[in-house]
Symmetry: C2
């Protein structure tokens, strides 16, 4: 927006400073709104999806997964990275089937969230998946270990309150899920 | 928990692979639950706080800030990084004063969120700040440019629905703020 020129930073130079198997880090030189220059380091990410899988009885399907950066098991909604060029709905369907064994008759795109605006360009697309059918065993990647848990809205809210759900994409998706369920969003 | 041994990954080796001004990246070798080994790349982060600043009229204080990784202005709650060894309440008070010009009589710690469980150990401590008084001009860092916006709970919810609020820590904090306001959490 034209009226945001007092906030906008402009790229002067951009280079890759770490090119890992998972993480790609760039370091850019930028022009600040006051005309001075500064540097910005950030992760480049292909984006991801998070899914709210709604069972016919109203419960949602969660996962328990060890998240190594935090050295703990995290209770979270199913999610996964978008493959290069992949349609986000296909990502959602693929990840739900692989990680939980479920397929869904109805898919609704709710919105998008940016988990880490300070140092990553990652976006996470939020889907509501309903009309769930168990299609068979999980099809996990070679180095993925995931346990399935089913929670009602009230159980999920209690888990947030008690600190048992802390994952940002999951609480953000629960915000949407409650609005859809209770206010008809 | 002992019953989580089928999920837990154990560190075999850890090294720094990128040591930037902002980002610190490590690459670890881990033992998987099935006994095989794999590698994990992740950001080391000192943690942050996010603040829900509640005005006497019920509105909340938000910020508009250009977030370079996303190349856009983001509407978000005040937040900032914890300085090494800093008490998290002090971080909250400092960031609120510096970024918005407000001070608060009452501070309540609500919970913690992990914004990026897949590739960062960052935690964000969530505070509710009430009894707000405008104490004077913002005291922004040299390269910070922030605009202040005040929104009611309903305006904030509408902004989430319309995609004007996408920031993960902000939606997570709004989830808490609504529970506190409407269900007495």
């Amino acid at each position: 927006m034209a009226e945001d020129l007092h906030l906008v930073e402009t790229e002067l130079d951009s280079r890759s400073v770490f090119d890992g198997a998972l993480l790609k880090v760039r370091k850019d030189t930028v022009r600040l709104p006051n005309g001075e220059s500064s540097t910005r380091e950030y992760i480049r990410h292909l984006g991801a999806v998070v899914i709210i899988p709604l069972l016919p009885d109203g419960r949602m399907v969660f996962e328990r997964q060890f998240r190594y950066p935090l050295r703990r098991v995290i209770l979270e909604l199913p999610a996964g990275k978008i493959d290069p060029g992949e349609d986000i709905l296909v990502t959602g369907q693929r990840e739900l089937r692989e990680e939980t064994g479920y397929e869904a008759d109805h898919w609704r795109h709710l919105g998008v969230t940016h988990p880490c605006v300070g140092y990553s360009d990652e976006r996470i697309e939020i889907f509501l998946a309903s009309g769930l059918r168990f299609a068979g065993e999980q099809a996990l990647d070679h180095n993925e270990f995931i346990e399935i848990v089913q929670l009602t809205h009230d159980e999920a809210a209690a888990a947030v309150r008690e600190g048992a759900i802390t994952d940002g994409k999951t609480v953000t998706a629960l915000y949407w899920a409650e609005k859809v369920a209770r206010e008809g969003w």
